[in-house]
């Protein structure tokens, strides 16, 4: 595969203008606002980074959802990671910008600067190399992400078992999209009346995971890719449904998403993981059956079991001034927050919606001013 093939065709100006015109025509047929929640921070960034708001009519509005693995991570889980990394002879590895998220005693980057061995990795399987290179150390994989990244963790678990590596353990923070949607819709004041679903989640889980939301809340759900043309086409599908008074599940990203998803990946996840009774989401609070944990037969690989009693148990709420919780629930816009851009910036984030590159506040801070002014 050539690198240039990854993006071509999905940013064509003529196509985007055509889609914008079609959306405007359909939007005129709709009474009231179309309040679309883009569950995933990746979509938030597409909308802000490519200035899509400027191409849309005023009755199309966006509400930024809880679908960023960094944003929804409560501080006590970061504190777990910091505690593990601070133990002697432990190497903590994790994906992406988890390293920048503040826990109650600072971010993993701060702990790394104090001498803890914390390594950001690009591919979970890099953990195997680190483990083999450091047989006298315990390597903790701090697993994060939604349905998209869980199969990669499952592959790592499988390889650790197959290769009989006895120095790799897991701290599991894999969460699920549908319970988060339920939590958003359970909010009495919610304005959300349509969803854009993240395509990468459905590549694994299939479009089927949103069927219940369509049925229960009578809202259109369109599973969408992340390129500007993908998002605009998904908006058109939503607005068309609204104009016709429909609420259906549609797949815009048909080039990779099926109704049932990747069965092999789902089987692999089911082999090693089970739904945990509860996970405390940052901003949303505890949500029943909203995350995964290793099955009991693999508990010897579970850092929370292995280090039970040695990990902090205090639940840490957000800074009082931080409105990440309301933003994640769709009740507030980043700019509604009193500390946005003042006490809370990407350099000195109070909340993880600002620190995460997938976060709504980060997207608004980086790209937002101009979008708002020109809307």
């Amino acid at each position: 595969m050539l690198l240039k093939d990854l993006y071509q065709g999905f940013r064509d100006p003529d196509t985007l203008h055509h889609l914008a015109k079609a959306i405007a025509l359909e939007a005129k047929k709709v009474t009231g606002d179309v309040n679309i929640m883009e569950v995933c921070g990746g979509h938030t960034h597409t909308i802000m980074k490519y200035g899509l708001l400027q191409l849309l009519p005023a009755n199309i509005r966006f509400i930024h959802g809880p679908g960023c693995p960094v944003c929804i991570m409560p501080k006590e889980r970061i504190d777990h990671a910091a505690a593990l990394a601070s133990m002697p002879n432990v190497i903590l590895v994790s994906l992406g910008d988890m390293i920048r998220v503040p826990g109650s005693n600072g971010s993993l980057a701060k702990f790394r600067s104090q001498g803890c061995d914390i390594r950001p990795i690009y591919d979970p399987l890099d953990t195997l190399v680190i483990a083999k290179d450091n047989p006298d150390k315990t390597v903790v994989f701090f697993a994060i992400g939604f349905e998209t990244s869980t199969p990669m963790t499952a592959v790592l678990v499988e390889q650790v078992i197959k290769q009989q590596l006895d120095n790799v353990i897991f701290h599991i923070n894999h969460v699920l999209v549908p319970p988060a949607i339920d939590a958003v819709m359970a909010e009495p004041n919610t304005k959300v009346n349509a969803f854009i679903g993240p395509a990468h989640v459905s590549v694994i889980s299939g479009a089927k995971i949103y069927q219940a939301a369509v049925n229960n809340y009578h809202t259109p759900v369109v599973v969408s890719g992340f390129e500007p043309v993908d998002v605009m086409e998904s908006i058109l599908k939503i607005v068309t449904q609204k104009a016709q008074g429909k609420a259906e599940l549609e797949v815009q990203y048909s080039r990779a998403v099926s109704y049932d998803g990747n069965q092999a990946a789902q089987q692999l996840v089911n082999k090693y993981f089970q739904v945990s009774p509860e996970f405390r989401w940052r901003g949303l609070g505890p949500i029943a059956q909203s995350a995964l944990q290793l099955k009991p037969e693999f508990s010897h690989l579970d850092a929370e079991v292995r280090y039970q009693g040695r990990l902090p148990v205090t639940l840490i709420d957000d800074h009082r001034a931080c409105q990440c919780g309301d933003i994640l629930r769709g009740l507030a816009n980043p700019k509604d927050c009193k500390v946005f851009g003042r006490g809370c910036t990407p350099e000195t984030p109070l909340g993880s919606c600002m620190v995460s590159s997938e976060g709504a506040c980060n997207a608004y801070y980086r790209y937002g001013g101009l979008n708002e002014e020109q809307r």
């Binding site: 050539l2 690198l3 240039k4 400027q54 992406g96 950001p120 992400g145 500007p228 790209y367 101009l370």
Partner: protein, 336 residues
């Protein structure tokens, strides 16, 4: 003899016979010039008129990458800092911090590529230092270079940009950052991507010779195009508008950015520079640049404006606008 040993030993940094052999057989042989070889405590230089003075340390991993190595980078980087002040690079110092066990053959390759790169500008290394640190105390090799150059054209400054100035980029952006990323992560993707690492003095010399009135000039190293434009917008108290369609980016770099969630505007360059100059002369400057190698893709990418002072605004190919902000923190891949 030092060359009979395959790796650098702690004794090579001890100030004794082994160190003398290393310096003579590796460094003096490559950087040979009378000032360096006089072996005084300090180099004796003849300077007159305004001079530019700069220093930089190089810690790249991996040390060898497509299109260059840490040595080429250490020369091009410092020489370019002088060139961007319209100063002809003349004298460089060079300090090596070498990890015990470093392969002598690799050191010779790096030093020879430094000597070759010096020929591009005519600058000379006139003093230096060598330290060897125990295994584990450095990542192979660190190089520091300091440079002095004679200022040929005195009015180049980040503070000198005025509304209406054209903004020119010398070639496609983001190659160095993308090349290092690919080498570091061992991506199994088809690509012939190479770093843009190069000495810029020859082309700057031609621009000055052509009487191009340059207001500001900067090589877009760490922080990439975004960092330079934001620094200029603040330093000159102007706004900058850039047109995304006009910014040259290699397909491979665009693809890599998609894969990792980066932006080409944020990626490092090591042989790409940005110029601000009067709009009326912009096309003439482009023609001078395109006549010389390395700048065939030189392009006007935008202009300075009195609106949105201190901010850089990017216009997308479909006509929407957004701020082009400074890159932040470590470049880490997105999670999902």
């Amino acid at each position: 003899m030092t060359k009979s040993l395959k790796t650098v030993q702690l004794s090579h940094g001890g100030g004794g016979k082994e160190m003398d052999q290393l310096i003579k057989s590796v460094f003096f042989e490559a950087f040979n010039n009378p000032i360096l070889c006089s072996e005084e405590d300090a180099a004796k230089l003849h300077l007159s008129g305004p001079v530019a003075f700069t220093t930089d340390s190089f810690t790249v991993a991996p040390l060898f990458f497509a299109g260059g190595n840490i040595g080429k980078l250490a020369i091009a980087g410092t020489v370019n800092d002088l060139a961007m002040m319209a100063a002809q690079p003349e004298y460089l110092s060079c300090s090596f911090i070498i990890e015990e066990g470093f392969a002598i053959d690799d050191l010779v390759t790096i030093v020879n590529s430094m000597a070759a790169e010096l020929h591009q500008s005519g600058a000379r290394i006139v003093c230096g230092d060598t330290k060897v640190v125990p295994k584990g105390c450095a990542d192979g090799l660190f190089i520091n270079t300091t440079g002095i150059g004679r200022i040929i054209y005195p009015d180049v400054s980040a503070n000198n940009i005025v509304a209406g100035d054209a903004i020119i980029v010398s070639r496609d952006i983001g190659r160095h950052g993308a090349t290092i990323l690919m080498a570091r992560e061992g991506l199994a993707l088809e690509s012939e991507l190479t770093s843009d690492c190069a000495t810029l003095w020859p082309i700057v010399e031609q621009l000055i010779a052509a009487n191009i009135p340059i207001h500001a000039m900067r090589d877009a190293t760490r922080g990439g195009l975004s960092a330079v434009l934001n620094e200029w917008a603040k330093a000159s108290n102007i706004g900058i508008d850039v047109n995304e369609s006009a910014i040259p980016v290699a397909d491979e770099v665009k693809g890599l950015c998609e894969l990792f969630g980066f932006e080409p505007f944020d990626l490092a360059n090591e042989g790409t520079f940005i110029i601000a100059l009067p709009q009326a002369i912009a096309q003439g400057a482009i023609e001078v640049m395109q006549r010389y190698g390395h700048c065939q893709q030189a392009a006007i990418i935008g202009h300075a404006t009195s609106a949105h002072s201190g901010k850089v605004v990017l216009t997308t190919p479909w006509g929407s606008h957004r701020y082009l902000d400074l890159p932040q923190g470590e470049l880490l891949p997105r999670i999902c």
